[in-house]
């Protein structure tokens, strides 16, 4: 693999993304974790850019780095712990989780590296927002309409669930 700009960009972005995720795991304060994850989402937007998915990159930043992260921060604010509760997680849980996820990861990596997908990459010619929109409104119009209902449901649901008790 030759070292070119694409690779370097990918490398940096990957490190940022993974770094953010790892930090999220290791931080102790909740706010820090959230910020670390937001950072990861941002890096992923970079990856999208690199993959000729500019529109997605924008969306990623808007929704993830923006909306969702803020939503999460609000969530954190709204659910502050009143007191330190003793963890009731069994000690073996963390170990087993690590082992389980490591095995899972191992399986994934093994399969990914076992058979590298080699093909002629698309150059992203004509992958414009226009085309994207066109396909969404023709080929994928049904899921699109459904998604609107889904958002409506989420809206109604959030209201129903989170609205304050009426005394």
């Amino acid at each position: 693999m030759s070292i070119n700009s694409e690779f370097i960009a990918f490398f940096i972005l990957s490190v940022m993304a993974i770094g953010g995720a790892v930090f999220m795991i290791n931080f102790t304060r909740v706010i820090h974790m959230a910020l670390a994850l937001a950072f990861t989402f941002l890096s992923i937007a970079g990856i999208y850019l690199q993959l000729h998915a500019e529109f997605l990159a924008v969306i990623q930043i808007l929704i993830y780095t923006g909306a969702i992260s803020i939503l999460m921060l609000f969530g954190i604010m709204l659910t502050k712990n009143h007191e330190e509760l003793k963890s009731s997680i069994a000690p073996w849980h963390a170990v087993l989780s690590f082992v389980g996820v490591a095995a899972f990861f191992g399986v994934l990596m093994w399969i990914i590296y076992q058979t590298p997908v080699i093909s002629e990459p698309s150059d992203g010619e004509g992958w414009t927002i226009l085309q994207l929109g066109e396909r969404v409104f023709t080929e994928y119009v049904i899921p699109f309409e459904l998604a609107s209902i889904l958002l409506l449901v989420a809206l109604v649901g959030a209201v129903v669930l989170a609205k304050k008790e009426e005394k």
Binding site: A21, Y64, T79, F144
Partner: protein
């Protein structure tokens, strides 16, 4: 530059997300980690759009939908968490264990 690197990245992120879901005590972070997992899947879609055996824009569209859904899901998750918080007065995920057996 082949798709393998992207796949590996997404695998790493997915695994970290999964690990986070399994171990993080704070319920919000758990939800956040789920988002990370979904993101990892999205990276796959986008990477396959370009580098897959049959490159196609559909991956982008799928991602678009996923992001939408993920956002809705996150919102719902927070809403449910807040509703739960009213009862339990904590956001420690390991305290939500009255139903068991």
């Amino acid at each position: 530059m082949v798709v393998t690197s992207y796949l590996a990245l997404s695998a790493i992120l997915f695994s970290i997300g999964l690990y986070g879901v399994l171990t993080k005590r704070n319920a919000v972070i758990v939800l956040f980690c789920i988002e990370l997992m979904l993101n990892a899947a999205n990276i796959n879609f986008v990477a396959f759009s370009k580098f897959g055996l049959f490159p196609d824009l559909a991956g982008h569209i799928f991602t678009l939908f996923t992001i939408t859904i993920a956002a809705a899901e996150a919102a719902l998750g927070i809403a449910i968490l807040i509703a739960l918080y009213r009862h339990v007065e904590t956001a420690e995920a390991d305290q939500f264990k009255s139903l068991k057996g």
